[in-house]
């Protein structure tokens, strides 16, 4: 049976409208996210740019919005960031190496550990706050200090770092390990001299993304005692606040000037987080390896 050439064009436009509607829906979803975020950013920039000045960076908070700054909060955020990296990277990478290179999957406790870590990544941050309050502040008697804040954020982002580091370690092909073993390297030498260097870019990227998540957190810090009003620069074992907490405090105030100040605080926080994320993306692209 032969088919006339005209038949090729005469069919009903099956699925044509469905296709268009679906495409429209995709655009719509994209726009929702894009426009909302864009509008928020623009509004914050427009509202807050006036107060992004030296006063903001180098003055303590004050009841007078004209001379109020966020120096203690900015400093505390930087301190927390440094501590966070110092705590999470060794612990997270250590756990990841154990799970990927040493753990025997046939053992029930290793499987339990894996499931646990994956679940921990989904626990709400306020729950970590409660844990921090009960265990670090009261149980260990640390008190409401910056160190406790950094420690609880460590616990919060640790699962993320572990998962990222495991991915990076798993991406190192087995042929590299075998090649090293075949030369008489010990397990420790294989891990330390081949697997870790090869997975460092991935681990660094994951750690930075985790860091920026930690620095944006407010809830757990409130519970472990980040104060909303701190007028002196932070110390490791002293009262502290953090940038998101400071923003939260300013927004809660009735005066319009403080809202503006909050907006400028948001600009600073966003700038820090976006810089970190951009650095992470740069690292990934720079050192991405195809085997």
């Amino acid at each position: 049976m032969s088919v006339a050439a005209g038949n090729l064009r005469s069919g009903r436009p099956r699925g044509l409208w469905t296709g268009r509607i679906f495409y429209g829906f995709l655009l719509f979803s994209l726009l929702i996210g894009f426009l909302t975020l864009g509008a928020l950013l623009l509004q914050v920039l427009f509202e807050g740019y006036r107060f992004v000045d030296l006063v903001l960076f180098f003055e303590a908070p004050s009841a007078d919005p004209q001379i109020a700054g966020a120096e203690p909060a900015i400093l505390a955020t930087i301190y927390i960031g440094v501590l966070l990296l110092a705590f999470t990277v060794p612990l997270g990478v250590g756990t990841a190496i154990y799970l990927e290179e040493y753990a025997n999957r046939d053992r029930w406790y290793n499987r339990l550990l894996e499931v646990n870590i994956q679940n921990l990544a989904a626990v709400p941050s306020i729950v970590y706050g409660i844990l921090g309050l009960a265990f670090l502040v009261r149980g260990l008697g640390l008190g409401r200090v910056l160190l406790a804040g950094a420690m609880i954020l460590t616990l919060l982002v640790l699962p993320t770092v572990i998962i990222a580091a495991r991915e990076a370690i798993r991406a190192v092909p087995d042929s590299i390990r075998q090649g090293a073993y075949a030369l008489g390297a010990t397990k420790w030498q294989v891990v330390w001299r081949q697997v870790l260097p090869a997975s460092t870019p991935g681990i660094a990227t994951g750690s930075i993304l985790a860091l920026s998540r930690g620095l944006g957190e407010t809830a757990p810090l409130l519970l472990v005692g980040a104060l909303t009003y701190v007028s002196f620069n932070p110390t490791l074992m002293g009262d502290f606040t953090a940038l998101p907490v400071q923003i939260y405090q300013w927004i809660a105030r009735p005066q319009d000037e403080f809202r503006t100040l909050a907006a400028s605080g948001i600009i600073v926080l966003l700038a820090i987080l976006l810089t970190l994320n951009a650095f992470a993306i740069w690292l990934r692209n720079r050192y991405e390896r195809r085997w």
Partner: protein, 285 residues
């Protein structure tokens, strides 16, 4: 060289075998004495009842169809199967009379003396220099490291191509160069034996020829064991050839066995087993 006519897939092919009168059996020095070796993965017998001797300064080739256990077998010689937790090795391999699987034997020590080159070139994502220097470094052989690296690269016929770019990443080399780098890396720790698991199967014919020439060169100083899919390659490079095949158990499980082990020229021209003849003449596999 004497061309030997072999019928492959019904076509006569001249296979070049290098004429080399092998030393009489009592003059050969035994490096490995394998007795009734078997390997099982999670209880599935992959290889069974293999006994053969590997001689010093010989190239010994293992040939056979896919799944016959030849790669599994070669990995027993440097205890690479230890890295697979489900693998279980039984039987014995004596290395100069010493049981390789003895309870007091350190696999790391074994791998230092028995090097390995893999099927797919696997250079480390480091510089050419660091690739060759890795073995000496982990084994603490760091005196005169530069000379050691140069010598290894020369032995692997890579020095001329690599000497001006020792700091370049090894992944920037071509596939054939990468494989020669892996050979250099293996030579840098001065092993006695080099195991090669299909070293040329991922390479083009020109790169393959270079690897084969290299094997001829290296057997003056080393003992080489090579697994190959390529029968002509075995005929070209090997002094002794072992032919492996697959048997099916009652429940259809595949187990590799050694069918015949003899001088290469004999395996290819007058094999004593019908299965070997079928395989080398292309009627099977």
């Amino acid at each position: 060289m004497a061309p030997v006519s072999v019928t492959m897939a019904g076509v006569n092919v001249d296979v070049e075998t290098r004429e080399r009168p092998l030393p009489a059996k009592e003059l050969r020095e035994v490096v490995f004495d394998v007795k009734d070796l078997g390997v099982a993965y999670s209880g599935n017998q992959a290889l069974q009842g293999v006994s053969l001797e590997v001689y010093r300064n010989f190239v010994t080739a293992f040939i056979g169809p896919s799944g016959c256990g030849k790669s599994t077998f070669i990995r027993c010689f440097n205890r690479m199967n230890d890295l697979i937790s489900t693998a279980k090795v039984d039987g014995t391999i004596l290395y100069h009379g010493q049981d390789l699987y003895g309870s007091d034997v350190d696999p790391v020590e074994v791998r230092k003396r028995i090097g390995m080159v893999f099927q797919k070139p696997n250079p480390f994502p480091k510089s050419i220099y660091d690739n060759v220097a890795f073995g000496p470094r982990v084994l603490g052989m760091t005196d005169g490291l530069d000379d050691r690296v140069e010598l290894a690269l020369q032995q692997a016929a890579l020095w001329d191509e690599a000497k001006d770019r020792l700091k370049a990443n090894a992944l920037s080399l071509s596939g054939g160069q990468q494989q020669r780098l892996c050979i250099a890396r293996c030579l840098a720790v001065e092993p006695e034996v080099i195991l090669m698991d299909e070293p040329a199967s991922a390479l083009d014919p020109i790169a393959t020829t270079r690897i084969e020439d290299l094997m001829h060169e290296l057997k003056k100083d080393y003992t080489i064991v090579v697994v190959t899919h390529n029968m002509q390659q075995a005929a070209r490079v090997a002094d002794m050839t072992a032919f492996f095949s697959v048997t099916r158990g009652e429940e259809g499980q595949r187990t590799g066995i050694l069918v015949e082990y003899d001088a290469t020229s004999k395996i290819f021209t007058q094999p004593s087993d019908q299965r070997t003849e079928d395989y080398v003449t292309g009627r099977f596999g």
